[in-house]
């Protein structure tokens, strides 16, 4: 990252990952994040604090993604994601590492609300209070949802490991 770049751009990878997770790896993610950046700057009432600005940006990204999903009418039945095949696009050559591949596969199998909270915590490293702001839920709900998400991921991973053991 160059020092003369806009300070908000350090959040770009996290914002993009969030959009990708919510949209299930769709190509639209990059466009959405770019629009979210431009939209955020047009807003006059931006918070002054960097932490709050970041939460703001992620919220804008998330809302835009949800709008897209609503357009596709996918959001209502997030269950359908449960059995999605992992698509191995060329950019995902890192998948050679089998443990990471399994983690990726397990993550893909989780419902949207779990995936988004995991990205917000593990990649964006937001504090619970900030996650609560982005998702517009209570702090206590953040803790329980995150825990459920981690437990679900663990279970899926165990399932995948067992599968592999049997083969």
């Amino acid at each position: 990252m160059k020092s003369d770049q806009h300070p908000w751009l350090q959040w770009y990878p996290g914002a993009l990952a969030l959009a990708r997770q919510i949209l299930n790896g769709s190509d639209e993610a990059a466009d959405i994040v770019q629009t979210a950046y431009l939209k955020s700057f047009q807003n006059v009432r931006l918070p002054n604090e960097a932490k709050a600005q970041r939460a703001w940006l992620l919220k804008v990204v998330r809302n835009a993604c949800i709008d897209v999903l609503r357009g596709q009418k996918k959001f209502a039945d997030s269950e359908q994601n449960t059995d999605v095949e992992v698509d191995c696009s060329p950019e995902q050559s890192w998948l050679q590492d089998s443990r990471k591949q399994r983690v990726h596969q397990a993550l893909t199998a989780l419902p949207i609300d779990m995936r988004e909270i995991l990205v917000l915590r593990e990649l964006n490293e937001l504090a619970y209070d900030d996650i609560a702001k982005v998702l517009r839920i209570e702090r206590g709900t953040v803790m329980s949802r995150l825990h459920r998400a981690r437990m679900a991921l663990r279970k899926k991973l165990q399932g995948l490991e067992n599968e592999r053991g049997e083969v």
């Binding site: 806009h6 995991l118 995150l146």
Partner: protein, 157 residues
């Protein structure tokens, strides 16, 4: 409290414990329980592995390019377009306000001065202007008063 019930109460807190997001008393309670309970300690260790693995996976996966960031940087730093947008909006709003205000004022004045108009219309127009003036004075008075009495005015957050 039996151990199983304890575990049940502690388990949901393990994620918060891992992220260091518990209150002091909660985190003490969890730490105390972990010392005595192998099952919960094992679960915590497992959650920690999942946490690190996921973090690494997500970091490698984010798959953005430097060119993308550069392009966005250019867009964000395009000062002229931002400046132009603000100025254009300001001009539009100012123009609309002045033109609209002038038109209403002129129309009102013309109707009010026109003695051939019915009395009720002329009286209503007079009431409208007087009302507006009154509202303006009221808001002004409130502002001045709050400026004098607001003890938090000089507090900087």
């Amino acid at each position: 409290m039996s151990k199983a019930i304890q575990c049940e109460a502690i388990e949901p807190l393990l994620s918060g414990f891992l992220d260091d997001e518990l209150s002091q008393s909660e985190s003490q309670r969890v730490a105390l329980h972990l010392k005595r309970c192998e099952k919960c300690s094992a679960l915590l260790a497992e959650l920690e592995t999942v946490h690190t693995d996921l973090k690494e996976t997500l970091h490698e996966q984010s798959g953005h390019t430097a060119a993308e960031i550069e392009q966005l940087d250019k867009l964000l730093n395009d000062k002229p377009s931002k400046w132009l947008g603000t100025t254009a909006w300001l001009l539009v709003i100012l123009g609309a306000l002045v033109v609209g205000g002038y038109a209403i004022w002129e129309l009102g004045l013309a109707l009010w001065q026109d003695t051939s108009q019915p009395v009720w219309l002329r009286a209503s127009i007079a009431a409208l202007y007087l009302g507006f003036a009154g509202l303006f004075v009221m808001v002004l008075r409130q502002r001045i008063k709050s400026l004098k009495t607001d003890k938090y005015r000089k507090v900087k957050l």
